[in-house]
Amino acid sequence: MWSVVKSVLAALLGVQSNQKREEDFSSGRPAAYFVTGVVITLLFVLMLVFLAMFAAR
């Protein structure tokens, strides 16, 4: 699970090593990556919203 999260975070930043990528694509459960991606995106949006609300105060 942690490795999936790490990969998705890496994707968000756009940094990934070839070796890790090979692992991802051979472990092959695309749904897991997809779901994690959606969750992390939502978290990311929420984080930005809170940041903006905090900054606006």
């Binding site: 930043l13 756009g14 940094v15 090593s17 070839n18 900054a55 606006a56």
Partner: protein, 370 residues
């Protein structure tokens, strides 16, 4: 070649930052907000220049050093995780560094406290209407550059396209609140020196604030495409000392009362036609054209228009109440009864529309007040 070009661009921009008058760069402006924005703009500009020099420097070094024609042998590395993490982390830090002052400036711009004067700005195709709320002073501001200058028949003046018949007059050192809306399409009221740019949206109201530090004449333009005369919709702000402003406002109030009195007397046809012609040229001619020929289908001709000639009440109604869903606005509150009477009289007697009708201001006032 390209690196030299880039350096030239940088030096051009830099020279812009030293001398404001040459019009290369964003104006520093005359409000605290505008100078904050200028500061932000220059900070980010220089950050971009530095990043650009580093990145393009590395690029051109590689291009020069590893030329195939000089027998360079290609290496075969294709990833390096720590370098990649580094060049992701550094931009994030730079961005945070940019975001902090930007946030502070933005919060300043949204500070709505303690405005001393409210001005309602209404965008209309293609003029601005200013209303000093609670002061009974309101007027429209039209571009005063003659069409002959635009067509080139006359030499263009210094403030070509950036001059108006009636500028917005504002006091310095007082916080002014702008309420902005529109009668037709979306316009955008912009004066660079005041760093105020805000859309005016039909049916909705926007707010903005300004506190001007120095007296002067500040010019701007409509910034949102709003139809054929979008380019001919300037904004001019006269910022004056506080006492001068108070005096001006009192004077305008009195003049408004005077004008209201003019409504009651009987006007002669010549008087009305003369006044009407100037109203027509500043308000109506942008659509219906200088000779009343219009530009159908959007803007019908007024000259030799049967319906207009035959039906004075209909004609008056169109001017007073406008035409729903079309470009023709209601001039009921934009023009005063004298102006409406004058312009209707003028159009009924110009360009061969020789009806001989005279519409009296008192009749218009009655129509409006019924």
């Amino acid at each position: 070649m390209r690196s030299r070009w880039w350096l030239m661009a940088v030096s051009l921009a830099a020279s812009g930052s030293q001398a404001q008058t040459n019009g290369w760069n964003m104006p520093v402006g005359v409000t605290d907000v505008s100078s904050d924005i200028y500061g932000l703009h220059m900070t980010i500009f220089w950050i971009c220049v530095v990043i650009g020099l580093v990145v393009f420097g590395a690029m051109f070094y590689s291009l020069f050093r590893y030329r195939h024609s000089k027998g360079a042998k290609a290496a075969h590395f294709h990833e390096h995780t720590s370098v990649e993490v580094l060049w992701t982390a550094i931009p994030i830090l730079i961005l945070v560094g940019m975001a902090v002052p930007a946030t502070a400036t933005l919060k300043n711009m949204y500070d709505s406290s303690d405005a001393e004067l409210d001005v309602m700005i209404t965008g209309q195709q293609w003029r601005w209407r200013y209303e000093y709320l609670g002061e009974d002073v309101a007027f429209t501001s039209n571009m005063s550059t003659p069409r002959t200058q635009i067509s080139g028949e006359e030499t263009r003046g210094e403030h070509y396209l950036l001059e108006v018949d009636e500028p917005l007059v504002l006091p310095i050192n007082r916080k002014v609140r702008f309420l902005m809306t529109s009668d037709d399409v979306i316009h955008s009221w912009w004066v660079p020196d005041l760093a105020v740019k805000q859309d005016t949206i039909p049916g909705f109201i926007n707010e903005n604030w300004v506190k001007i530090n120095e007296p002067g004449i500040y010019r701007g333009q409509c910034a949102e495409l709003c139809g054929i005369d979008h380019g001919f919709m300037p904004v001019v702000v006269h910022a004056v000392e506080e006492e001068e402003f108070d005096g001006w406002l009192a004077e305008r109030k009195e003049a408004a009362e005077q004008e209201a009195m003019g409504v009651d007397r009987e006007w002669a046809m010549d008087e009305l036609v003369e006044r009407g012609e100037s109203v027509y040229q500043s308000i109506c001619s942008s659509c219906h054209q200088a000779e009343g020929q219009g530009s159908p289908p959007a803007f019908p001709a007024l000259a030799n228009n049967e319906q207009l000639i035959n039906d004075v009440d209909w004609h008056l109604d169109r001017v007073v109440n406008g035409v729903s869903g079309a470009a023709m606005p209601a001039f009921r509150s934009t023009l005063n009864p004298v102006e409406i009477a004058a312009v209707v009289t003028y159009t009924r007697n110009a360009w061969g529309n020789d009806t001989g009708d005279v519409v009296q201001p008192s009749a218009v006032a009655e129509l409006i007040a019924q």
